[in-house]
Symmetry: none
Amino acid sequence: MASPEPLARKARGRPRKAGAEERIFDAALEEYGERGWAGFTMDAVARRAGVGKSTVYLRWQDKDSLLTAAVGARSGVIEDVDTGSFRGDLEGLAGNLFRYLLDPIGWATLRISVDAAGAPEPLGRFTDAVTELHHSGASVIFARGAARGDLGPDVRKDALADCLYGAVIMQTLGLSGDSRRLSDEDIAERVRVLVDFVLCGAG
Amino acid sequence: MASPEPLARKARGRPRKAGAEERIFDAALEEYGERGWAGFTMDAVARRAGVGKSTVYLRWQDKDSLLTAAVGARSGVIEDVDTGSFRGDLEGLAGNLFRYLLDPIGWATLRISVDAAGAPEPLGRFTDAVTELHHSGASVIFARGAARGDLGPDVRKDALADCLYGAVIMQTLGLSGDSRRLSDEDIAERVRVLVDFVLCGAG
Amino acid sequence: MASPEPLARKARGRPRKAGAEERIFDAALEEYGERGWAGFTMDAVARRAGVGKSTVYLRWQDKDSLLTAAVGARSGVIEDVDTGSFRGDLEGLAGNLFRYLLDPIGWATLRISVDAAGAPEPLGRFTDAVTELHHSGASVIFARGAARGDLGPDVRKDALADCLYGAVIMQTLGLSGDSRRLSDEDIAERVRVLVDFVLCGAG
Amino acid sequence: MASPEPLARKARGRPRKAGAEERIFDAALEEYGERGWAGFTMDAVARRAGVGKSTVYLRWQDKDSLLTAAVGARSGVIEDVDTGSFRGDLEGLAGNLFRYLLDPIGWATLRISVDAAGAPEPLGRFTDAVTELHHSGASVIFARGAARGDLGPDVRKDALADCLYGAVIMQTLGLSGDSRRLSDEDIAERVRVLVDFVLCGAG
DNA sequence: AATTAATCGAGACGGTACGTCGGGTCTTATG
DNA sequence: CATAAGACCCGACGTACCGTCTCGATTAATT
């Protein structure tokens, strides 16, 4: 999500082990995927990463921080595709968002955002980061659409983005367990209906 | 959400303490509100409710169940209002949803749904219950709209509901900490834009 | 060493498990005997006693306290025997002290006393308890000796006790590992020489 | 205790830092004095000595070795004084032993011996070293006494030494905390009684 | 002068134990 | 019977220390 790696290295002691960060992230996300938050254990993460617990705690202060960082580091971007038409672009984006949210890591990102938004003190700037993540995909498409003339100047872009993203969230929220394994055709169908709707409205 | 209290109580022994259920719910939600999920403990709930742990476990089998029940019992319903027009009804509903999600308990409902949807084994039937909760409000409005003739027969009602609810979620997701204190005017303005959009679309 | 068990039991909750204290002491002393202080682990003690760690920590605040208590509870008394003569009594007492100190638990008592005497803040009243333990055996013998007329009135009893006990400590201090397995004859011989000396002196 | 410094140093690399050994010993004994064995930490010793941990581990293989070496290096010798009479020599020796054991470092020597004697595998040859230390002082006095004719040929020298040393240990064992600050007069008085006793016995 | 080799400080490493805390169960005495 | 109190077993938490290791920087003796 961001490059935490600073520039210069002046460190005096033994340098931090090279691949540790990556291996710990992998281990954390595997554990999280297999056991969920309740069964997510620092000991297990350290063991699976082949690393001492102190190595983990040297980098992240607690369980929350580690999972947040892991999810932040690994959660993909919702990529936009240039299909040549505004409608096509929207369908592509919504489809990618669907796939993103049906993946445990992507869903975890949402879960953490929801936690963060409700928490007394903001959990890092996680919410902002996720918001940014969501809007960056859409804005590219809007720019392209405007350039092509597919998109009227008075369209409420924010509303469109909120509706499209939100509707996908609503639909994935209604799926749990095995029903979350949607085929590409299912996704395409759902996306088509949604994009239809946001383009035409209920009028 | 549902009537948890069973039917008759012919019990032979000491009757269940009168206000216990309520006091435990209150305690649970206060604890949850103050400390979040991570700091939410059964011990603290029992202590705050002035109740033994066994009394709690006699009624709910575990932490999840208690929190789910508490949230279910206390989370208001997203009420619909009959304003006389379909557009007015939608604005009323969306406004209520806004207020619901900006309240800690309402937000907790969402948080739990998100957890439940992603969990390996479904967390009770919480997901279904929430889905039901969301759709019941909308369906009343649709029925009224259809009766009034405000609503064409070929409108994708599900898409409309998903977009409207989803967009509200997206917007509240972008608010954290103090920015979650929205005035009624703010809400009304956001709602107006949203309803405008879902009624007309981007076409 | 002392009866820690209070008088009445008014306790309201679940009563403390019956044999736990005993089993924990046994486990602690076995672990201590097998692995020494360095290898003495609370986890291992709890496991060996078939008890949760919290059960241990509910009773003793830390490792030191547990070992101290265990040693205090189990370390036998240096018994005195009535042989009919003052010399015989002294030999019996010194022999028992020898056996006591050659036993791992008895030696641990000494080890802890030494720690306690040197510690910044006194380790409980362990030092006093041990002092008391040592003097009680001797005083009985002195009383008996005086009654029999074996013991002149101007004898420095404290000096005698210190010399006898101290000499036995010095001798066991010089033994380590396998050489600590002394036969009864060895002990008797050493004791005879010692008692001879304290009765006659170097004059 | 012994000269740890080897003979010639032709070493090719960077020579060992000059005062390091001394500063580490000081730091070790201060830490040990302040916190006792339980709170005695290699990290703290290194920090206090202003030295890297590797510098410590380059010289001693582990915590035991360091403390043993430090105590061995710093613990004074129980010096004997030639007072002209056997009795006077004994009193001088016992007084010095008293002072030695009331000093934290001297007492640590005893503590380590006690640990060593009870340990499964002997802690270095510490026990032997201490035994040697104790007997060397006495043997000089005995030799002098024999030369002067103060000392009969049939006296059990070992018993005498064991009693004298042992009695002093017993007395210091009974003192903890502030009561360990004995004035020279107190010591002289105690010593007089003890020497009286070992010279005349209880007969 | 360049090379070599030992040591230094700092501090991260994999482990392991600490003492704490919470979950969910169980056992008592008291309603 | 239900309750409150609270001890039970279990296992994870986050911390601290052990003894090892890997750095870059010194510091001589040897080339």
